[in-house]
Symmetry: C2
Subunit: 488 residues, 2 copies
């Protein structure tokens, strides 16, 4: 089975596709650009969703649900937003099919044309701010701290499973505030929540920073981002949090009476992460044997494989181990399959990235031992049955930490300071990763570098130190370095 995976060194893109397919995470559907998320992929997404949902609720947010459709005219109301999102989208023009009078099957009923076309939401700022207008009269109605779990559609021409699909699942937070400062703090808070989730649960180190004006969300005054680095040296924008200023309040006329009894436009943020995170998870940790899932997000953390095959006596031992692990909140399954051989099963569980495998045969039991294998390093250890619960609980923590450390070591060794365009291109071509370079702050330069080197500015890190220098392209003065990379 594992043999069928293309190695990363041979063809990284194909390796990614192989992992997604052979670990049974997702597949392409009959509908162009839309994916089917298979049960195992969805189970991992559910773990991510549930943890994010807890973190949103802990920071005071509540969930709600807004319509799938957006009237065409809403998209036009915010000038920049329409440029960003009206271009490639799914447009509903009719509300009925009919049998073709010529007998050629179903056709669109021409009499059922909508007065105004509806767009399948690419993001929900417009429909939500149109709703907030009725919800907000005074500062007493603020803040509104709402999140929505939903599907959205952007008509992408080139799609890749999880990373870029026409339909994807995501959450979008949409908050309304009485002051500019409060909205800015909210956007920063959600960037921190995303970073914490990425690092503590996905074991994926991220750089927190701000996007350049050119890379901002359409309609935002400031876009904050978390940027991760994949094993092929390309960056992945893993989540964004936008300070929207008063742009959407202005477009949808959402005013409130402030504490000074004056009418004022409401301040806004929005923030989102999507099933794209699944792509980030895969590309941060997995290897040529298959998927690697960090223990905190693994639907099954431990699998028990009896050797050579299940028997009543082995079943009793497995039951005892499972009870001990479950008492510690560890999810575990016992492989009761009689048909396949242990070697096949081992490869299969490695493919699926189950963090810990416990195997045992008659000889092991005689010695009161189990063979414990960890997926991250593939090390095997003989462990006494007595105390297996504590051993595995500690091992899962260690694996979680090791995955983070390994990814961070890779990421940290792939941030390279360069001071001229020759080095810039060479580092990008030979080593990849983030390039830390001076930039003169203009969109013109940013676009020229993109054209010359295919690298974009991923972010201006939040914790940047001021440093006088000159732009890597133009030689114009610069006050700080920014991070460039090729990106997904």
């Amino acid at each position: 089975m594992a043999k069928e995976i293309t190695s990363r060194s041979e063809d990284y893109s194909q390796w990614y596709i192989d992992i997604v397919k052979k670990a049974q995470l997702a597949e392409n559907s009959a509908v162009r650009g839309c994916m089917v998320i298979k049960p195992y992929g969805y189970a991992i997404w559910e773990k991510m969703r549930d943890q994010l949902d807890r973190m949103f609720k802990e920071t005071g947010h509540v969930n709600a649900y807004f319509p799938l459709f957006i009237p065409k005219s809403f998209l036009s109301k915010e000038a920049e937003h329409v440029e960003g999102f009206a271009k490639e989208c799914a447009v509903v023009t009719h509300h009925r099919l009919m049998n073709d009078p010529n007998g050629s099957g179903l056709i669109v009923d021409p009499t059922a044309k909508l007065e105004e076309e509806l767009i399948v939401r690419p993001t929900s700022e417009t429909i939500i701010w149109n709703t907030y207008r009725d919800w907000i009269q005074s500062y007493r109605d603020l803040p509104i701290l709402i999140n929505q779990w939903a599907n959205v559609v952007r008509w992408e021409m080139r799609t890749r499973l999880f990373l870029r699909t026409a339909e994807f699942l995501w959450q979008e937070g949409h908050t309304a505030h009485a002051t500019r400062q409060e909205a800015i703090e909210e956007a920063l808070q959600m960037q921190r929540v995303y970073a914490q989730f990425a690092e503590e649960y996905m074991a994926m180190p991220v750089i927190q920073g701000a996007k350049t004006p050119n890379e901002r969300f359409a309609g935002a005054e400031d876009t904050l981002t978390i940027e991760a680095l994949m094993q092929d040296g390309k960056a992945l924008q893993a989540g964004t949090s936008h300070f929207l200023g008063q742009n959407f309040a202005r477009a949808f006329e959402v005013n409130f009476l402030n504490e000074e009894n004056q009418q004022e436009l409401v301040w806004a943020t929005s923030w989102g992460v999507s099933t794209r995170l699944m792509g980030g998870l895969i590309m941060t940790h997995s290897d040529d044997e298959g998927l690697i899932v960090p223990p905190k997000l693994a639907p099954t953390q431990v699998v028990i494989v009896p050797i050579p095959k299940p028997s009543p006596e082995f079943g009793e031992v497995a039951d005892k181990i499972m009870r001990e692990l479950r008492d510690k909140g560890i999810s575990v399954m016992y492989d009761q399959d009689m048909k396949n051989r242990p070697g096949f099963k081992f490869a299969e569980y490695e493919m699926r990235g189950i963090p810990v495998r416990i195997a045992f045969g008659a000889r092991d039991l005689e010695n009161n031992q189990l063979e414990v294998a960890r997926r991250d390093t593939k090390e095997k250890t003989s462990v006494p049955i007595d105390g297996i619960g504590n051993y595995v609980a500690n091992l899962l923590d260690e694996i979680q930490q090791n995955l983070f450390n390994r990814a961070k070591a890779y990421r940290d060794s792939h941030i390279t300071r360069v001071d001229n365009m020759d080095d810039f291109k060479q580092v990008l071509a030979e080593k990849g990763g983030f390039i830390s370079a001076h930039w003169d702050g203009t969109t013109e330069t940013e676009l020229k570098i993109k054209e010359l080197a295919k690298a974009t500015i991923r972010c201006i890190p939040n914790d940047n130190e001021p440093e006088d220098g000159v732009c890597v392209l133009t030689g114009n003065p610069s006050k700080q370095r920014v991070l460039f990379a090729m990106a997904y």
Copy 2:
């Protein structure tokens, strides 16, 4: 606040709308027929969803996600299915908007017409069975037990919040089996799961039965249903579970090699409940003071209101009560609002249907007592602070049981046996509820009765006793009674 609710006796429909709006459950959106589910309504739906999800997983199901869009040609493949679902639906015909060259804003880009129109899923049998074709080769690949949580769209002309909306949220189970018998058992199992959920969690008694051929799901060989009775004497179809036979396997050519090494078509079920359950929940229990939520589905089960208003001393007492309740897994909030008076707050929490209210003032504390009010009966009792946790835990159980008993007593007293059409019409007009009557088994008679009396056959109960009789309309022989009612 409560004064603004229309009473049920005055105008039941308006009462329902008032509850939905004033308890802040949902509202109409700018998009025709689509609703906004507000945070409080969504929190109740989340409790329902999470419990159903647990019950699905306990019965061996896993979640997955399939595309929002269905190619038009897929709908035509199952002959009856297309009749049922192709009629009123949202049709995506284009994938781009453009600026009108005449400057009138955004228009559909005529060059971006899709080769084949896409339908926003009204239900997912077609896209899922098209996918299953690739997943199923042999009996070893079966059963497939998949559920999906999703939004669906049916272009309804007359909509009512929760009960009938163009877009709604639901789950749809789609299972594939090697034998007819196994599929039939699955459909029955899910009907039982739905009934158990309705009765134990929603405290809503339901009758389990089968639909007549005329009322079956388009493409099903048998449709099982759970039918509830609302306080106005109308029935609500609350969930359905379909035995689909081999219809979708035939339409999408899904064969498998059975244990006898022969090619055979796969057997199927599908089953779903939706946000419509919210409407059922509201109309089963609520009263003229507002919403009543059964404790097991209440986002907040207990609210603590200090009288006349919060103080540091009161806060300490509230903290102690909250700790005690939370230790027992009870969700509780302390009202710290300084502005509104207790009477206003009481009415507000009654409106929102919070099961238990604990109020106390200085005098109560002197006596080591609290005033505990239950929402279902509006009874108030003085209760010692000591042991409040146990008292409230028991009270919540009692409320849950009382709501069920009350609804069941109403339902049971509204099943009337009738033996002629005059009584049929009179009972329907004067008393409402279910009418148990003989029917000759023909669709023709069923439709005539519907025309004459506006009542439909809700179901043939699973536990029906055979009984010889004559059809209430035609006088033709009949072997059993069926249940008629006016329905939502």
